[in-house]
């Protein structure tokens, strides 16, 4: 039983991790939690669904996923233009980004529920069976896929950030946008690249979450508090830290819910967070960044 719960915990953690990676990449540059990410996930889930259902025969999953990834990139750049560009120009503190992202999240959710909220949708299933078992333990197929994809994305991102030129640029801009500009790095291109990556992640998450759950306007936003908690505990825009925190939160939640019920879980969770942050104020990853909201 305990082992089975642990598997469920990892599955839930995988879902959180998928969201948290998108959070963390934006966080690493701008030092704010991009709540609008949740809205983007919902919007991408809807767009992916409409794309898929516009064909007689549903296209393979990978086609839909690639399409929504592209849409996610465009959407992220659009949101950057309408919401963040001006604030950035005025060098406003992180708080403004945070409030703007909340506003954008509400905006997207409302547009979806007012104009597309009449029907509930779901994606065509990817797997013929929802679970498979290994040695008497049941694994959820879609959760396993989500886990594999999150890990793949994570390793790809870590490779990009640590080994490539653009990664080096991202790391420099994360430390200081103005100094890196002086060093001949085009900060605005780097910033757009980061948003594009986040948008791509939102696109993939939209399809995966839409396949796991169903497609409805609050699909992404309802997970934002969890993503927020994970990205802060994980530590300051560190991708690895966010993943570890996501898995930890998933496992802790599953066990607490099993033992204490879902109502007592937030109470205990608050205590755990308080204790953890008191003991280890630098978060899981141990890197410091300032102005975190």
């Amino acid at each position: 039983m305990t082992l089975q719960l642990l598997i469920s915990g990892f599955s839930l953690g995988a879902v959180y991790a998928l969201i948290a990676v998108g959070f963390a990449i934006v966080f690493s540059i701008f030092k704010f939690s991009n709540i609008a990410h949740g809205g983007m996930i919902s919007a991408c889930a809807f767009i992916g669904y409409f794309f898929q259902s516009s064909f007689e025969e549903p296209p393979p999953f990978i086609v839909t996923a690639l399409f929504t990834t592209g849409v996610g990139v465009l959407m992220a750049l659009l949101i950057d233009t309408i919401a963040y560009r001006n604030i950035r120009k005025k060098q406003a503190p992180g708080l403004y980004y945070f409030l703007m992202s909340i506003t954008v999240a509400i905006l997207i959710e409302q547009i979806l529920s007012v104009f597309f909220g009449k029907n509930l949708h779901t994606y065509a299933p990817i797997f013929s069976s929802t679970t498979f078992s290994i040695g008497g333990l049941r694994f959820s197929s879609i959760d396993t896929l989500i886990m594999v994809i999150s890990l793949a994305i994570l390793s790809a991102l870590i490779f990009v950030i640590n080994k490539t030129k653009i990664g080096l640029a991202i790391r420099t801009v994360a430390i200081s946008p103005s100094t890196s500009q002086l060093m001949g790095i085009n900060s605005s291109v780097v910033i757009m690249a980061v948003f594009a990556i986040a948008g791509a992640l939102a696109g993939i998450s939209g399809v995966l979450l839409g396949t796991k759950f169903s497609v409805y306007p609050s699909l992404g936003p309802s997970m934002m508090t969890k993503g927020f908690i994970v990205s802060v505990i994980g530590g300051l825009g560190s991708l690895g830290g966010a993943i570890v925190a996501a898995i930890a939160l998933g496992v802790v939640e599953i066990f607490l819910t099993y033992w204490l019920g879902s109502l007592s879980t937030p109470i205990v969770l608050f205590g755990i967070m308080l204790l953890f942050l008191t003991v280890r104020p630098e978060g899981i990853s141990g890197r410091f960044a300032k102005d975190k909201v």
């Binding site: 403004y96 409030l99 802060v232 967070m273």
Partner: protein, 301 residues
């Protein structure tokens, strides 16, 4: 004046009260809290549940409610405010979820998700709420210009420098946190008195976020700006009722319009409508004479 207009005034007043609480904590002390709505919930539930089960008048129990609210704020604030400033938003979200869970766990008394509806009727409520609002705005204004307020602003700008001037940073933070929670608590009681029903999901973190947005819309460090935006934006959707544009009922789009308005204003005027300025007679005179005076308070970020 119809009951409808009176109820709109009350709506605006409650919004002003809660935004004043956010002003105290965010604009003065520079702490970003998403838990103000939880303090509204705590004081409202304490006040009205005790009033019902102990048969006490509301004004007595509201004192108990506010005291309870302050106590909780103190207990939560002591450890939380010792953490790095960045973690406050996180902890307040966690706190909000905890408060909602506790309300649902105590469903024997609070009626959980169905909502607690046995709230006594108060006559001439609009005058009481107006008076409370004026009082709170006045108090927060005084707070801003007092020695205490200036200490808070020093702390907001640089807490190490503030400490080196002999300011007890942690003590000050706890104090302002408790004050802000108390103001939120007053807002929560007014909310209950107006609506006559309170339910846990009304006091979500999104309500706290909305207060923050109202504050920043009006002007980051401007009390008058925040008060104006709190009142205007809250009442704005009322003007969209029954209006149709291109066959779309604007009533359904009120939140969309509201969000777009905020995005436009923050884009054009990042520091909010009034920014750092306070609206006062001398400022107005300067505005109409064509040369706006810089600011009268002297404080800035």
């Amino acid at each position: 004046m119809s009951n409808y207009q009176l109820s709109l005034i009350m709506l605006a007043c409650i919004s002003i009260i809660t935004v004043c609480g956010v002003f105290a904590i965010t604009s003065l002390a520079g702490m970003f809290s998403l838990g103000q709505a939880s303090y509204m919930a705590i004081s409202a539930y304490l006040t009205f549940c005790i009033a019902r089960y102990q048969n006490l008048p509301v004004w007595v129990t509201s004192i108990i409610g506010l005291a309870g609210c302050a106590l909780v704020a103190f207990v939560i604030g002591m450890p939380t405010l010792r953490l790095r400033r960045d973690y406050l938003a996180l902890m307040t979200i966690g706190f909000g979820q905890m408060v909602q869970s506790i309300i649902i766990l105590l469903d024997k008394y609070t009626n959980a998700a169905i909502g607690f509806s046995k709230i006594p009727k108060v006559n001439n409520l609009v005058y009481i709420i107006l008076a409370i609002t004026v009082l709170i705005v006045f108090m927060v204004r005084n707070l801003k210009y007092s020695r205490f307020g200036r200490m808070c602003i020093a702390l907001k700008n640089d807490d190490i420098a503030a400490r080196s001037f002999g300011i007890d940073v942690h003590g000050l933070r706890v104090k302002i946190y408790v004050i802000a929670s108390l103001i939120a608590g007053v807002g929560g009681i007014c909310y209950g008195l107006r609506n006559r029903v309170i339910s846990p999901d009304a006091f979500d973190w999104s309500l706290s976020a909305e207060m923050q947005i109202l504050l920043f819309f009006g002007g980051t460090n401007s009390l008058t700006g925040s008060v104006i935006s709190a009142a205007c934006l809250k009442v704005l959707p009322e003007f969209l009722k029954g209006v149709k544009l291109f066959g779309i009922d604007l009533q359904n789009c009120k939140t969309i319009i509201y969000c777009l308005l905020i995005i436009v204003v923050i884009n054009l005027r990042t520091k909010g409508l009034l920014g750092e300025r306070e609206l006062s007679l001398s400022f107005l005179r300067g505005l109409f004479a064509g040369k706006p005076r810089d600011r009268e308070g002297g404080e800035s970020t």
